[in-house]
Symmetry: C2
Subunit: 344 residues, 2 copies
């Protein structure tokens, strides 16, 4: 095994083009193209010469040029989400990558950090790169900026949250049904003072989950108390403060529904060590929830399923599916593990 030097003094070597290969092999550039593309009609001996030249020069065809010339697919898909670092979205990313790979496409990702301007910037940048399609977890509610792109034939699928003002394929999870189920579950154990701790209400999922919470209260015959709702806290400190307020009020909450995985984790950390812990059901499943004590009852839904469904929808569009836009709602399952089963 020889160890090869990485950074050569002879740095500024121009990349070999088909022209260079053709010259070295003593054929025309078109013949090189034929060899590279496995086209028929090249004499084996000629092909060998060409392949040798390709090898010698380290030639690698320029996909930009190819795509430009062919005017067809660039073999890429753009994925705009909130944060690739969040385990939930990284699960989505992985699934999207998986599906796309099977369809011969690469994934370009970008994190919007809940900033609508950044979402737009990323999506349009991807369009400039002529991605074949876009998968977007919307940060904002205005998506008219995508209309020219969609009209130009770039299919767009929204996931996790719907678009504000365009009609397009959308894959969601059952936020309302899930949260309502959490309330029903807690009420069935006798809880009457149930709090909801959610993210900023202008985030679609947060709003929907609050709606589900409200509906769940109505259905379970539990009084919906505005003062038991805290929308917005999503970092450790604010979650801790909100939780403190909710559990030390005059009529304190005996149970809490947390609106997403991050809030759940912050809440668990805030509650660790406290004596009288409220019962808790968290939206989003997370690793090790089963190993905590008490194990955490969650509203589970599958990040992979979400990514897979969205990517498959997108690829169906790319394969020519021109049916009306679809809205897919994936189920949410309550996984009872213990934290939601304590009596008040």
């Amino acid at each position: 095994m020889t160890t090869l030097s990485a950074i050569d003094p002879e740095r500024k070597v121009r990349r070999a083009t088909m022209n260079d290969v053709a010259r070295l092999a003593g054929v025309s550039i078109k013949t090189v193209s034929r060899v590279v593309n496995d086209e028929a009609g090249v004499h084996p001996a000629t092909a060998d010469r060409v392949l040798a030249a390709i090898d010698q020069l380290g030639f690698r065809r320029n996909l930009s040029a190819r795509n430009l010339r062919r005017g067809s697919s660039t073999g890429t898909v753009g994925l705009v989400l909130e944060d690739v670092g969040n385990p939930f979205y990284s699960g989505v990313t992985r699934a999207v990558e998986e599906v796309s790979r099977l369809r011969g496409r690469q994934v370009i990702t970008g994190s919007s950090d809940e900033d609508p301007a950044r979402e737009r910037e990323l999506a349009l940048e991807f369009c400039s790169r002529r991605v074949d399609g876009l998968l977007i977890v919307p940060a904002g509610v205005q998506h008219a900026y995508l209309v020219p792109e969609m009209r130009a034939g770039t299919p767009v699928v929204f996931l996790d949250r719907p678009a504000g003002d365009v009609v397009a394929d959308t894959v969601l999870v059952d936020n309302v049904g899930g949260t309502a189920e959490a309330v029903r579950h807690l009420a069935s154990f006798g809880h009457r003072r149930i709090a909801f701790l959610g993210d900023a209400p202008d985030i679609y999922t947060a709003g929907e989950r609050l709606r589900g919470f409200r509906e769940g209260c109505v259905r379970a015959g539990v009084r919906f108390d505005e003062s038991l709702v805290a929308m917005g806290p999503h970092d450790a400190g604010s979650v801790r403060a909100a939780l403190h307020r909710l559990t030390t009020a005059a009529e304190p909450a005996t149970a809490v529904v947390t609106g997403n995985n991050r809030i759940t984790v912050h809440a668990l950390r805030a509650l660790a060590g406290s004596v009288a812990r409220p019962a808790l059901v968290g939206f989003d499943d997370f690793e090790l929830a089963d190993l905590l004590s008490p194990p955490v009852t969650v509203l589970a839904h599958d990040a992979s399923a979400l990514g897979r469904a969205a990517a498959e929808l997108l690829h169906a569009r790319l394969d020519g599916d021109a049916s009306p836009p679809r809205r897919v709602v994936l189920p949410v399952r309550l996984v009872a593990r213990g934290s939601g089963e304590a009596r008040p």
Copy 2:
């Protein structure tokens, strides 16, 4: 707010080009180019006409063509790792994205699933797309295939594991030192029968951590016992089986060092509920480790730091840094939380 139709009957609209814009605005294509690129020397009135035409046609310049023509940067970076879905790597991805964004580059990712062929395929595919640089978590040990690319000026930075047979920038964590420290820690609490549960030994990090384990034993005056080493198990079942074997042997292990986050999690799940749990120190930190009971002592290192260091090294190369290849080793910190502090 008007709701706009997504999939039009008038689908097959060709994307507008600068030519179309030029025709509509009644100027030459070059003038459009000037407006799009904010070049000086265009009459404001002309520029307005052009901008109006751009807006009307939904023109968005084709970056493929631009990059082809300019022959310069494509503004992309390729990231090949094992699995974007793994929280550790998604942290890396996020950091890489962050750094790249500040430098004006997009990230294309691909998961190799520990398959060297797939790693190679992905890396070369990225090269065909003319990424400005490559970040690779090697799956295999042969990287000679990258030499032509590196010679052609594509900088490559390896992260988390070194390359097999090329000299290039590399960012690693202190695997040996970390694991040795774990052994020292356990030994200081009186453990003499310490087991190591690692991934397949042909994975670099697994091998290094085993080496660190061995060194740690020597230094701590603990007998290194081959029979207390299990290399390879990395799914729930095999980890459970290995753990069972190690803790029920004639001279059972009283403490275990687990070789990465997945193995740690499987081990914790296998040990949950068992009465006499061995002390445990896991390589890689993970969310909620502090909330388990007992809280899990880990060898922590920062995924973000790893990604950031690698991405910054890469961008330094892209900015012309031609110094000899560097090897950066990031520290590993033992975070004592409880699971490693039980006496035998």
